[in-house]
């Protein structure tokens, strides 16, 4: 059915007037075009651009590699003995040899970051790492470490949201004591 104009009567040619009104309104409205290569986009703080690695936090627990739906994380390590003075036996610790993420496979689900128990993986909003050769999308642990600089500080909690589990627990403990 045709839309009706004033008094239920559609005026012939009213559509032409509407067209003129829409275009002139758009003309005087500021365009929202982003001048991307000249002006960097303002990305929201939790943007999923690239995954950064803080190597010293990694314990080679392999959780990320195992949870990754695409199997795009490759980890290799060896064990080293650490002699602790005063201890009965030398301790063993894992040393990371290889930590690669293949961004040609990664689907940016962020499960590896969620699952990491030691805060070794972070989201960075950086996204300008396109390559001419797909093989160069395999970032090794040095390259992943470089992204750490671009990781934004954690966002403050929403002041009207639920308190974090740690906060709630602490409050409960202090209340009980």
């Amino acid at each position: 059915m045709r839309p009706k104009g004033v008094f239920g009567v559609s005026v012939p040619g009213s559509g032409l007037g509407k067209g003129l009104a829409v275009t002139i309104k758009t003309l005087v409205t500021r365009s929202t075009t982003q001048q991307y290569p000249d002006v960097k986009p303002e990305l929201p703080p939790r943007s999923r651009g690239v995954i950064a690695l803080r190597e010293e936090n990694c314990t080679v627990c392999m959780l990320c590699a195992r949870e990754c739906p695409d199997w795009c994380i490759y980890i290799d390590s060896h064990k080293e003995e650490v002699v602790v003075p005063g201890a009965a036996r030398p301790r063993q610790r894992n040393v990371l040899d290889q930590f690669d993420i293949d961004f040609s496979l990664c689907m940016y689900c962020g499960i590896c970051i969620e699952v990491c128990p030691f805060d070794a993986l972070f989201w960075s909003p950086e996204f300008e790492y396109a390559e001419h050769d797909i093989r160069n999308l395999l970032h090794n642990k040095d390259r992943l470490g470089e992204w750490m600089e671009t990781v934004p500080p954690p966002q403050p909690h929403d002041h009207r949201g639920e308190p974090s589990k740690e906060e709630a627990n602490a409050a409960k403990k202090s209340g009980a004591a």
Binding site: G19, I24, T26, T33
Partner: protein, 325 residues
Amino acid sequence: MLPGMQWLELALRVGAVTVAFLVLPLLVGQTEHKVMAHMQARLGPMYAGGFHGWAQLVADGVKFIQKEDITPRAADSPVFKLAPGVALIPYLLALAVIPLGPGDLVGEPLDIGLFFVLAIVGVGVVAVLMAAWSSANKYSLLGGLRAAAQLMGYELPFVLAAASVAMAAGTLSLPGIVEAWEPWWLIWQLPAAIVFFISGLAEIRRPPFDMPIADSELVFGYLTEYTGMRFAFFLLAEYVGIVVISALTATLFLGGWHGPMAESLGWLWMLLKTAAVAFVVIWLRVAWPRLREDQLQRLCWLVLVPVSLLQLVLTAAVRVAMVQS
């Protein structure tokens, strides 16, 4: 006057008209780039020349020069090559007789200026038919025939509307018409102004009257086979056409150089009025869809021609009443 002065003055006038012929269409074209972009919530050209892409059309021109100039093997070569020139020259001549300001500020003050302009703008159809027929391309030919039907039809209301003003002013000279113009003519000649503007749009085949080009149906109509500079000339002709139609509308119906301090600033008023009409031309292109071929003819013969005939009657009646009182 010294004999040498005459030639100097002539050279000056021809030079000024040529400069206007080359600069104003570029201004209109750049305005169209930007206005159309912003009406579509875009930014338009932003790079060429640095500041908001002001040199975009210069860059386009450089690109057109570099392109290969192709003449199809089956084409009628001399006619094919001549057509862009035939499209362009009439508008240059038309610009020469349109008054810019009071007094002698006109390329060539012709006594039958209006008659001359209407005749010479009608030559455009010849260029279109030449381009269409010589291209040896069925889409070109279809476009050309559409253009011929359109231009033949719209010539009539175009001329009748202009005749109304000529009758009101009692002269065919364009400076004379502007001289005789009074503000209340805006009401008196309003139907003629609207008819003249609409059929002027159809004359220069601007959207919503771009049936001859109709790129969704006819590739690019009579321009399909053109490349490089010849194509650029046709495009230039379209934009000079906008300038000419806008300037004519401003001269005949909007009072040309009339305005505050017309003696010294008349040229500015004329340019501003022309620019305002040109803006409307661009605006209509962005806002309105193309007419179908039958709608196009229907609008011409069933609306514009009767309205312009009624306007002629009205003009004559008011004129007779004025003379008798």
